[in-house]
Symmetry: C2
Subunit: 152 residues, 2 copies
């Protein structure tokens, strides 16, 4: 087994197919990483969240890293790392279109609900819940994959 | 479905049973997150790595965050977050015992090999490869889990 860099197309294919990612943010050089559900479109990842530590930290420092993978075992795995920037999408006039776009993408999936809340919560409705939408602009995307002996 | 905090015992059980984690480090407030294989003992996670970006960054800033989970679907998941500190374990007189301890823990598992190298590599041998061992001292460990309606 060895490891090779993934092509841009391979990275996009993995990110497109995936729903679950790990999002890392940082405050005063203390990193923090949590699982998120996301949707991918163009140069963006879309997600939403309850207010909390990661949202506060990303508001203060929008530089993030998102990691998406398919890991079966030591011999079979692919992992993509996105370096990007957080952008909150409040349901205001300026962001209304982006907010609806994020919602339209995320609601397609049964697993859009993020493992983030702490209280019993109903399904959120746009504009009627404490949840907020955000996007991650993809500045850089790289990936690595395991290659079996004799493979490519 | 709602979400509750996990007890310390539940967190330890998840971390003990797990092998795969996501490790986030940070440099100049740019976070970076990668998958790692680890072993857990006492107040430490143990792992090893090829030299590379994350090792350089953790040498410069030992503050890290490690996320370990079991995620089946929206209704069934548990996630633990460790805030900790990186300590490299060079095979020197000072760290020889810790280094052997890390190795003795990691070699038990068939998946100790980290998804990190970039070249065809033989299995590393302690003291005879570019791989290095490190520990993460667990300063803080918290967890959340989904709870089905009517569950606890």
């Amino acid at each position: 087994m060895f490891v090779r860099e993934m092509s841009e197309e391979e990275c996009i294919a993995l990110v497109s197919a995936g729903r679950l990612a790990r999002l890392a943010c940082s405050k005063d050089d203390q990193p923090y990483v949590v699982p998120i559900w996301y949707a991918y479109a163009g140069k963006f990842l879309y997600a939403f969240s309850m207010p909390g530590r990661k949202i506060e930290w990303m508001r203060a420092n929008p530089r993030v890293c998102v990691q998406i993978d398919e890991i079966s075992d030591r011999q079979h795995w692919r992992s993509v790392i996105v370096i990007g920037r957080y952008q909150e999408l409040p349901d205001s006039a300026q962001w209304h279109h982006e907010c609806l776009h994020a919602w339209s993408l995320l609601k397609k999936y049964p697993y859009w609900w993020e493992p983030g809340g702490l209280k019993p919560l109903p399904q959120p409705v746009v504009g009627a819940s404490p949840h907020l939408f955000y996007s991650i602009h993809i500045d850089e995307m790289t990936g690595r994959t395991a290659v079996a002996e004799g493979g490519i």
